[in-house]
């Protein structure tokens, strides 16, 4: 009972049926969300025949094999692909956060001509998918001599992530009491320092949220790497995996092993950001 009540949002017995329902729904959702990932992970450790014979079964002594991982790690440039993905993701997320926070701060704090127009353009950026502009983006990258470089990917991902980042961060900036900036101005803090030393630390939880939102689509993207950077040197993980998918034969062991390995870095990044997700940093500022 003690263990049971620990997971209840409130101690009253009246709340129990409601709480059970909520947990049942959440549990069902978790199972559905985790199911494909678990299937990928367990099958990556199985022989090819076992994958098709019993896709949901756990690997046993006869079907267990690491041939997929061997194939991926030894016979392909998996290290390079991961590195490319990591560089692109970290650079793009980092710049989206920095530029997004700066834009959000500028648009909410300062009144200037064109403020509304820029806000509106960012809102448009959320509504219009960036892939619609693929053709012009490609021709732009060709003209800039950026095809087959990671820079091209970073630039596109910044454009892709920025609108939502600005939107979410603006909402957060609005919740920061304006007295805090005014106090800083009375303390003769420069406007840049107000942003970097007073506002940015308070935006941490929001930035973690934005980081997670921005990171996942970039890591998983196949479209832009395929179009803008398909060269051997600049392939990202998702593109690298494609070499095991053939028109007639697909090396399922390798595909599943590569996908399993690709989950690990995202998981690590997510763990880092989710620590920052804990709110309540602003409590104590006012009142």
């Amino acid at each position: 009972m003690k263990l049971f009540s620990r997971f209840m949002p409130s101690s009253g017995m009246r709340q129990v049926p409601k709480s059970v329902t909520i947990h049942a729904v959440l549990l069902a959702y978790t199972v559905i969300a985790l199911f494909p990932i678990i299937v990928v992970v367990i099958n990556s450790f199985k022989e090819r025949r076992a994958i098709f014979r019993d896709p949901l079964g756990l690997p046993d002594s006869s079907s267990f094999t690491l041939v997929g991982f061997e194939q991926v790690l030894l016979r392909s440039d998996f290290g390079l692909y991961s590195w490319n993905s990591l560089v692109v993701t970290i650079l793009a997320v980092g710049l989206v956060l920095l530029l997004g926070a700066m834009a959000a701060w500028a648009l909410t704090e300062y009144k200037f001509k064109g403020n509304l127009l820029i806000t509106f353009l960012f809102a448009m950026g959320i509504m219009i998918p960036i892939r619609l502009g693929t053709v012009s983006i490609l021709s732009l990258m060709v003209n800039l001599n950026l095809v087959n470089t990671l820079t091209a990917l970073v630039l596109v991902y910044i454009a892709q992530g920025l609108p939502l980042a600005v939107y979410i961060l603006s909402e957060f900036v609005r919740t920061i009491p304006k007295e805090l900036t005014e106090a800083a101005r009375c303390d003769s803090v420069s406007e840049y320092k107000i942003f970097f030393c007073v506002i940015l630390p308070l935006l941490k939880p929001a930035m973690a949220t934005v980081a997670v939102f921005t990171m996942i689509p970039i890591w998983n993207d196949l479209w832009f790497p395929l179009i803008l950077a398909p060269g051997e040197e600049t392939r990202t993980i998702t593109l690298g995996v494609q070499q095991f998918v053939g028109q007639y034969v697909t090396d399922w062991n390798s595909v599943l092993s590569a996908l399993t390995l690709a989950i690990v870095p995202v998981l690590i990044l997510y763990t880092i950001f989710s620590r920052q997700l804990i709110r309540g940093l602003t409590s104590g500022a006012v009142k």
Binding site: A183, R185, C186, L202, L281, G284, A285, V286
Partner: protein
């Protein structure tokens, strides 16, 4: 020496709203000035204009003879304490207090010395390494004051600093603020809507109404000789009894049931006022009027009696009487009262000026 001068200072917002038409005020060095008025009267706006957080539309602001209209808040050498304290939540108490000094490029040792001094003065020494969220409301309030004090500014600006505290702490901090200000001798501008706070803290009070200074003077000036019915009603608790009346040859005719003898040059409609504490209990022969009691508030040390002037029709004007000590008259009974002439306040009903 005159420290701060506001000369015809006014504020007009871009949408055309005249928040403050024109305020004149000169503040002596070391003086404690309280800006008081109901919410929306422009008192915070005026303070923020002095701080440099709002622009000044018309007129001139001078601090120590220097024109400040176009200077940044940082260059005005003022320190402001905000209603919600506005402590930097990610910094320790020490850093909160030291931040302004660091930004002015002061040497580390000197900063440490100053912060320690002020922390000792405010009893914050134990708390210097804590974050604001680990502090109680009163402690945060003290840190906010400490942050202003370490800067050793020309002028302190307080924007309703006590309104987030509970009643008991508010009284305690009120006394502390007054003592500190006396000790430091720093010119202070303090905004509040609480007239008790205003009366107890101020060397001089500025009563603001709709952006206009209704009266400027010492608390006792304002209590004894309010310039307008607004000031009369605002200063003092409970509020002064203010009744519409007519000044005729017979005297002041407040209502059919109450005519007070007075010879005065002025004729026509006036506002007659008397404070609840100046009404005296009397007997039927000597009384000026009778009060039909409607409610009694016993506060122990004093008793507030609410009632109406007794008339045949029962629609007499409402009045409040304040008696010292406990009294327990019956509801609906009649009380005989006199209104001594030396305590009357007369205002012209048209111009709202004191007669």
């Amino acid at each position: 020496m005159t420290d701060v001068i506001l000369e015809k200072v006014g504020k007009t917002y871009p949408n055309g709203f005249h928040a403050i038409p024109s305020v004149d005020l000169s503040i002596e060095e070391g003086e404690f000035i309280v800006l008081v008025g109901p919410s929306g009267c422009g008192k915070s706006t005026l303070l923020r204009m002095v701080a440099g957080l709002e622009s000044i539309s018309t007129g001139e602001l001078r601090i120590r003879g220097e024109r400040m209209n176009d200077k940044e808040p940082a260059d005005r050498d003022i320190a402001m304490v905000f209603q919600n304290y506005a402590l930097y939540p990610h910094m320790t108490v020490y850093n909160n207090m030291a931040y302004g000094l660091k930004n002015r490029g002061m040497a580390k040792e000197l900063i440490a010395e100053k912060v320690t001094d002020v922390a000792t003065m405010l009893g914050l020494t134990e708390l210097l390494q804590r974050k604001p969220r680990q502090l109680s409301g009163g402690q945060r309030q003290r840190v906010a004051m400490g942050r202003a004090m370490v800067r050793d500014p020309k002028v302190f600006l307080f924007d309703e600093p006590l309104s987030n505290l509970d009643a008991k702490l508010r009284v305690q901090m009120r006394v502390e603020i007054r003592q500190l200000q006396r000790k430091l001798g720093t010119t202070t501008l303090y905004v509040t809507h609480d007239q008790v706070e205003a009366m107890t803290l101020a060397d001089r009070l500025v009563v603001l109404n709709k952006g206009k200074a209704e009266q400027i003077g010492t608390p006792m000036d304002l209590y004894n000789k309010p310039a307008t019915p607004f000031v009369a009603a605002f200063i003092g608790s409970p509020s002064m009894n203010l009744l519409g009346a007519n000044l005729t040859e017979q005297g002041i005719k407040v209502s059919d049931a109450l005519t007070l003898p007075l010879s005065h040059r002025h004729r026509g409609s006036i506002v007659w006022g008397i404070r609840p504490e100046h009404l005296a209990v009397s007997d039927e022969q000597n009384a000026d009027f009778a009060l039909r009691i409607q409610a009694v508030e016993s506060l122990g040390a004093e008793t507030l009696i609410h009632g109406k002037i007794d008339t045949a029709s029962g629609d007499g004007e409402p009045m409040v009487v304040r008696l010292s000590g406990p009294h327990l008259p019956d509801i609906n009974s009649v009380m005989w009262l006199t209104a001594p002439a030396q305590h009357w306040h007369l205002f012209d009903a048209m111009t709202q000026q004191r007669l």
